[in-house]
Amino acid sequence: MSARAISSLVVPGRGQSVWLVTLSSAAMAFLAVFALALSVTSARLAATWSDALAQTATVRISAPPEEMDSQTALVLDVLRTTPGIAEARVMVPEEQAALLEAWLGPDLPLDALPLPRLIELTETAEGPDRQGLRLRLAAEAPAAVYDDHTRWRRPLVQAATRLQSFALVSLVLIGAVTAAMIALAASAALSSNGQVIRVLRLVGARDRFIALAFVRRISRRALYGSAAGTAVAMLALLALPQAGSAVPVLAGLGFQGWTWALPLTIPPLTAILAWAASMATAFRVLRGVT
């Protein structure tokens, strides 16, 4: 029998510490998958909101009804001759009604309200000279206001970025707690196997051999536990409403496309973490044994 083969046998398989490693790894992997999903989702939201709002803008015309058409024509003339504007389209009343309906309800008499006219702009990749456009509109169509959505876009992207930071901090905390739990379990396993350590030292085994005997077992358990926790969490994410579904709450939380591969890295990373944490603990405990 080889050293490696006997190494896997010298530590008895029973013991509460082994179950502690398995359960804590499973629980932490479960949480890590959700933190990772939150991170990926918030990154995706930030990118989507940023892209969607980056190349669109609106011109709002608030003028008396008798001047509305002339002001609109002036604004369209200005926009047509402005570099960086790909398209300018006057929104029809039905589109405006649909926008307001989400906030004010379906039965509002919109005809009776002095609503501004909206012109939707699609900008080129370079975009217009925004300050120059504002000045031209102020001079030629004083009732028009150019809105490039910056005041909406910035806080949305900031919120998404902050959410992503929280998720990443959560992942780090989960990793730290996992390492601490495994170190604790390794310490307990070593303490409850004093006889094994004494016998191995007696026959000339080096600390590395003894440590590896424990570390292999603990890392393997951490891998199994983490794989189970990851699998359950991925199934739970699959069960959540998907983006575009009829249930908007939590819709879109999770992975899409290749990002489904990301949680698969959690079990091997947990095993590596368990290896490092238990190896450090084992050497520290063994230093106290002659």
């Binding site: 050293a3 010298v10 000339g204 085994a205």
Partner: protein, 223 residues
């Protein structure tokens, strides 16, 4: 092989022995006797580095015990076979796996036929697959002795190795140790068994040391 120079050892309650100087040379055969509690087991523990002396110098296989790193101590123990009074096995491994442990745990080649032959020699051929808790006291001592010598050690230390054996098996095991000694292994046996000492002295040139009154003395020839 093993050199003690002015070695003293204190427990919490006071000195166990003082100023012990002795050399165990290659191929030597020593017995260690003395009343219970005199410090025989402690002396053996100093011989394989489980304990450090309170004062004085212990040299194991040309290395100062105090200066050794943990890996050097492990390397030294590879070359020292030890039979403990309480045997000390891994209870979840079979007798065969326990006996092969000094080789497998130190990454040295192990031939299963060697283990089988050795187990046959100590009368445990039929118990190779048994677990240590199922062995009798005598069987445990024989298995511990087999484990101590499987790696062909330079030094063999045994604490009452025949305490639970009948006379016939004691003689048989003693012959095994004598053969090992003839091949160059230094042997040190702590025992109360005067018949065993007489038997060994008839076969091999053995010296008898006695711990008494906190001193190590060479015993007389009247044994």
């Amino acid at each position: 092989m093993i050199v003690f120079e002015d070695v003293s050892h204190d427990y919490g309650g006071g000195p166990l022995f003082r100023d012990v100087s002795v050399r165990l040379e290659q191929g030597s055969f020593h017995f260690l006797t003395g009343p219970s509690g005199a410090g025989k087991s402690t002396f053996l523990k100093l011989c394989y580095g489980e304990l450090l002396p309170s004062s004085g110098k212990v040299t194991l296989l040309n290395r100062d015990l105090r200066e050794m790193t943990r890996d050097q101590l492990a390397e030294t123990r590879e070359r020292i076979g030890v039979v403990h009074q309480d045997c000390q096995f891994l209870d979840h491994l079979t007798v065969e796996q326990n006996v092969g442990l000094p080789l497998t745990a130190t990454d040295r080649p192990l031939r299963e036929s060697d283990v089988s032959d050795l187990l046959g020699w100590v009368g445990l051929g039929a118990r190779a697959d048994a677990l240590p808790p199922t062995l009798s006291g005598g069987e445990r001592q024989r298995a511990a002795l087999a484990r101590a010598i499987i790696g062909a050690p330079n030094v063999l230390l045994a604490d009452e190795p025949t305490g639970n054996l009948d006379w016939e098996m004691s003689q048989r095991l003693m012959m095994l140790l004598i053969e090992l000694n003839r091949m160059g292994t230094a042997v040190l046996i702590a025992t109360h068994d005067l018949n065993l000492i007489r038997f060994a002295k008839a076969q091999v040139q053995a010296r008898v040391m006695r711990i008494s009154g906190r001193k190590l003395q060479l015993a007389g020839a009247e044994l």
